[in-house]
Amino acid sequence: MTELRAGRTGEPLGIARDEARSQRPRYLDVLIGLAAFGVLAVLPLFFGSKALLDFVIRCSAFGLFATSLNLLVGYTGMISFGHGMFFGLGAYGFGLIMQRTGVPVPVAFVATLVITTIIATVIGAICVRLKEIYFAFVTLAFQMLIHSTILSWASLTGGDQGLRGGIPRPVFLGIDLSNHVHLYVTSCALLVIGLLLMRQIAQSPFGYTLRMIRDNANRASFIGIDVWRARLTIFVLAALFASTGGIVMALFVSGAYPEFAYWTISGEGIFINMLGGVTTFLGPMVGTVLLLILNDTVTRLTEYYGIVLGIVILFFAIGLRKGLMDFVVEWYGQRRDGAGERG
């Protein structure tokens, strides 16, 4: 697992660069976010392909999920194996509220996040005291608990058949989520807003507190930081973004299924982080795009998806020994330094 925490052994160089970046005006992130949203939003005007829109919607769901996981793994050094439970919680919470109560979409959205906050606080309060492998396994245990609850509480959740009958989406503020393009733009907006907020968290003093906890929790507590509270806070915040990812996925498939809360979703999150890299903020987002492209093209070509994916994992784990973004950043840094030497 040390590979996942590459940032620690990392490179005073990387930290220095991070600090330099934090001194950049804050609004630059917002500008980049707006530009990205603008590009995504006009995409349907140029490409008629619905599959491309589907792809971006799925990227939003998994991107929010994986980036929120990186807040725990990369920034705080908490390897959660159970992060998928919040993805499932978001999907089920939102789907159930929409099916059972018929409240407007934004109300259901907020209510789902409130529910997630409550559950994440309870689970987090128990888990974040634990270290490393114990934390990983207890989060995994809670995930399996939630998964089993979904399976056995069939009268509410539909058991292993999932939430059936579609999720109703009444129009709100002129947004009709049963319209494909509307859903697409909404997903993009949620993704960009989510990423901006997470970026904000990562670059705030609180974000640096998290890095300090990751690097040396004892030292952090000696200088007066309440490590438990900081860990719990980021655990709950990350859960909220994962839950938002789950909501996007529920809207995409118009249902919720127990697989969303299964450990394989958490595994996918961890894998995305390995693929993209945990030392840069956008690493998980790059990992998401990579994994989904890989998934979509490989399943199109062969049914031996597992083998191909395994080889790719080996390539990243043994070959590169880091995520793609880590590799690119490092390579770019070397290149620039090399150019500097020559010049």
């Binding site: 490409f47 392909s49 619905k50 599959a51 491309l52 589907d54 799925r58 399976l151 069939a154 058991g159 292993d160 058949q161 999932g162 059936r164 009958g165 579609g166 049963s178 996925m249 995409f252 498939v253 118009s254 249902g255 299924y257 127990p258 697989e259 969303f260 394989t264 492209i293 998934n295 979509d296 093209t297 399943t299 199109r300 049914e303 031996y304 998806y305 597992g306 390579w331 070397q334 290149r335 090399g338």
Partner: protein, 419 residues
């Protein structure tokens, strides 16, 4: 030595790689329209524990599609199957189904997903309005629940409630003649196992009211070791056992229960036994296990059914499964409906398919019908018999009575609030 270039990937190579990558990934997004052939998409499970579901579904579909194409295709258009693995994940099933329609230009869908995947594809069919025929999901609610109903989705799979009615009445008759009053159940712990067991005991008790369930076991799905379950059942000393374990679970259960000589101590009713996937894998198939038919080439005992089973075996070197006949039926129905509508258009095929009766090797009376009101298959061969250790494995199958099935099904629907 002077180095002229930094090690690593050159700019040119990077550009070339990026270009190749872009082309590879963009190609599928450019929809290719081909008017001559008609593409039929099929999301299914081709990897993992239940890969056989997908492969035997695919085999059957390809067998029938070849016949349809040789006879001129759908209204003159040759069928081209696009079959893709969903890995058994519902979000993947939904994605694959959407991709098949939106990107690959499939005009019809054969949904060979199981369980939750079928419901996910159902939502895609609802959303896109594409013609869709579910072939593997036996969950009654998929078509029985009016909330699920959409005009463009059909089902050719058998239905859980049909099996329970036939099984319950068959078991009750034997319970009465042999005086079997104390029963045990053993079912995998998930929706299918719980629902099927519940419905079976409901009908068993209805036909034989003095039956009593004295022990229930719920092993996990795909559990490797059944020792505790077997000993628990033996300790309860029931006169009969009902189980809806299936596939590998059923075969490991029987192999392990054989060690305890369980099958000589009680009557065993295993609804999913009479399928070649289980019959041919069990090491010592005990004589006299009661089972519902899944697919067996000797029931219905017609030349057509035997010929179909043999043709399949000749081509793929294994016997068909329950999933095979369900998928073959889907292709047969599509072909007939298309002929009737004289069109390959999904809407017209759907129109023609409602209430359509076709000749079929798998029909109880040589025909099967796509019932118009809930767009699900009825009239397929359904019955129970007892096993022998060698071919034909279940020599004498007692057929279920479709009149009774339909009456009780209507009653069941009412009790569920579906009708």
């Amino acid at each position: 030595m002077q180095r002229t270039r930094k090690p690593g990937i050159s700019r040119r190579a990077t550009l070339a790689l990026m270009g190749t990558g872009a082309v590879t990934f963009a190609t599928p997004w450019v929809a290719r329209a081909q008017a001559k052939t008609i593409k039929v998409g099929m999301p299914t499970i081709l990897s993992g524990r239940v890969a056989q579901l997908g492969t035997s579904s695919r085999n059957a579909v390809m067998l029938e599609v070849e016949k349809v194409n040789a006879a001129g295709g759908l209204a003159g258009r040759q069928i081209e199957m696009v079959i893709r693995d969903s890995k058994g994940a519902p979000q993947e099933a939904a994605r694959v189904a959407r991709e098949l329609v939106n990107t690959d230009g499939c005009e019809l869908l054969i949904d060979a997903e199981a369980s939750s995947g079928a419901f996910a594809v159902h939502e895609v069919a609802r959303d896109l309005g594409v013609f869709c025929i579910h072939t593997n999901s036996e969950t009654s609610a998929l078509t029985a629940d009016p909330k699920q109903h959409i005009p463009n989705a059909f089902r050719t799979a058998r239905q859980g409630v049909h099996d329970s009615i036939v099984g319950g009445s068959y078991a009750a008759a034997i319970a009465k003649t042999k005086g079997l009053k104390k029963w045990a159940t053993c079912a995998p712990d998930y929706a299918y196992g719980r629902d099927t067991t519940g419905e079976f005991t409901l009908y068993l008790k209805r036909f034989a009211p003095d039956v009593e369930i004295i022990s229930e076991s719920w092993p996990k799905l795909f559990q490797p070791d059944y020792t505790e379950v077997v000993t628990k059942i033996l300790q309860a000393k029931p006169q009969a056992l009902y189980t809806c374990l299936w596939g590998g679970d059923l075969t490991s259960y029987i192999d392990q229960a054989n060690i305890y000589a369980m099958f000589s101590q009680m009557e065993v009713f295993a609804v999913n036994m009479a399928d070649y996937t289980a019959l041919t894998v069990v090491k010592n198939l005990p004589k006299g296990i009661h089972s519902g038919n899944r697919y067996i080439k000797t029931y219905p005992a017609t030349a057509e059914n035997a010929a179909w089973g043999d043709a399949y075996k000749a081509k793929y070197n294994e016997y068909p499964t329950n999933w095979s006949w369900e998928n073959a039926t889907a292709v047969m129905l599509i072909a007939e409906a298309s002929k009737k509508a004289n069109s390959a258009d999904g809407k017209k095929i759907a129109e023609a398919m409602r209430g359509l009766t076709i000749k079929s090797p798998f029909g109880a009376d040589g025909t099967v019908t796509m019932r118009a009101e809930d767009q699900t298959l009825i009239g397929y061969a359904i019955g129970w018999g007892t096993t022998i250790p060698q071919e034909p494995y279940v020599p004498d199958v007692k057929p279920g009575d479709w009149k009774t099935i339909l009456e009780l099904e209507a009653e069941w629907k009412k009790s569920k609030g579906y009708a």
